[in-house]
Assembly symmetry: C2
């Protein structure tokens, strides 16, 4: 089994680890790549192709894992040479994945999305896949990956991922509003305990990590909410998504002020330290 | 141990069941009560006082469990006679509980709040308690109740309950927006499955029940969010609470239209049936 990666960032290198461990051949092309990426690919035992065209023509399954804004351009360039299955696994909107896969000449395409964190889950991270060739892509489950087929319609996986992300970002925004108020009133521990009684024993830990990552990734979340709102507004009035977007914008403004004051970002261990520091800035 | 209840609705009768089972004497006054309430109290073996004053003077612990809008009036009337501990367990705002307990002459007061559902949990339902006399109230744990002390400050329990309620209502509003959109796109089951993978195995069941109860209790939730917003706005800009309030207002408008069309409310078993029916009305 020959699996090619367009781009060799964190997603590609993590999945490659699993594929190589389980006997697949992994290919990529390193033209225009930085030294650390080249070294990593060579150390892992990835086969290096001489040109993007060679990569596209040799791979039985070709996976596009690039910077989201390059997804369409890369598909335009590589899609005309792809002989096997072309998989777009990039974190892009449904419209973008439809546009990118529309460029693939042989029409053997898969819309795929990574659910959860590659960093935390490694190559066992959940991948969902839609499109006519999703079944052919899912043979990579025999090579260590964790792919779940979600139907034939290209665009659905991106939408599923976005709706999931809208929900989880909403929970984080809710936690922010609830616990910032509770912290200011001096009853955050009590509120945490009481909500935990109905939401389950992992609530406290998960709330803490969601509050910290809301602060650390406020900019990206704010930007992603714009995309989510667009998707939601095709079918509903996105009242919540609108508030979530504003919430992350507000958090990001605080973060910017905070960074200006401190010149460097502290590595907070608990939401209490975070809220305390935010309270201290003007 | 003599425990008196002002009001004898669902909360009072459920807690009385536990207290009586565990050897306490339960008292109430049935002046102006309806026949079903009277019969229930008599059947359970509750001791009937001849006047509110007798109830207040005889009870070692006097619990106000009335219609929220009557909490202050009842405290004004009974607080002057209360010789033991006066507990306000009504679902009222911090301002209201502070006002009501301020009427109690002997100052032996407790701000208490019920967390979760009396219907589901019976007399074992979680009760939280604040105020100088909270420890004295908590002796009722020896008589079957489940009271947790949350500090001395009257008003805190109401606030904790409100912040919890703001969070859980927010989750419901988020579920509504996310799953109504997913349902309209025909990918609700997929989104449910994928969110469940990170949110835990009970996610599907809990989401379904939250969606149905959001519809069934839309009016009450909309009204309660107004109170919650007020409390939050003392310390934060309530962006999320504002959206949640609008969301329940929207759901309630749909419900009103729906009831007009159908002349009766259907007992939906799943969110799918609910969304299907809502889609069919103009």
């Amino acid at each position: 089994m020959k699996v090619g990666f367009i781009g060799f960032g964190e997603v590609a290198s993590t999945l490659s680890g699993g594929l190589l461990d389980n006997g697949a051949t992994v290919l990529t092309c390193l033209q225009g790549r930085g030294v650390p990426t080249k070294n990593k690919a060579l150390e892992m035992g990835v086969t290096i192709c001489n040109s993007p065209r060679e990569l596209a023509e040799t791979s039985e399954i070709l996976i596009s894992a690039v910077t989201p804004s390059n997804a369409v351009e890369v598909a335009r360039e590589m899609g005309k040479y792809s002989k096997g299955i072309y998989v777009d696994i990039n974190n892009v909107s449904p419209d973008t994945v439809i546009e990118s896969l529309g460029m693939v000449k042989n029409k053997k395409t898969v819309d795929a999305a990574i659910i959860g964190s590659v960093k935390r889950n490694g190559y066992n991270v959940q991948i969902i896949a839609c499109g006519d060739s999703a079944t052919d892509f899912a043979v990579l489950n025999d090579y260590g990956l964790n792919i779940k087929i979600m139907g034939n319609e290209v665009g659905n996986c991106s939408t599923i991922k976005m709706l999931r992300s809208s929900y989880t970002k909403g929970v984080s925004a809710l936690l922010w509003e609830t616990f910032l108020a509770a912290y200011k009133m001096g009853i955050d521990e009590e509120v945490l305990e009481i909500i935990g009684q109905t939401e389950g024993p992992q609530f406290g830990k998960s709330a803490n990590s969601r509050l910290l990552s809301s602060f650390n990734h406020s900019k990206r979340r704010y930007e992603e909410m714009g995309e989510v709102k667009k998707i939601l507004s095709y079918s509903v009035d996105p009242l919540m998504a609108d508030a979530i977007e504003q919430m992350f914008e507000t958090i990001h403004e605080k973060k910017t002020k905070f960074n200006k004051n401190k010149n460097s970002q502290l590595d907070f261990k608990s939401y209490k330290d975070l809220f305390k520091s935010l309270n201290n800035i003007k």
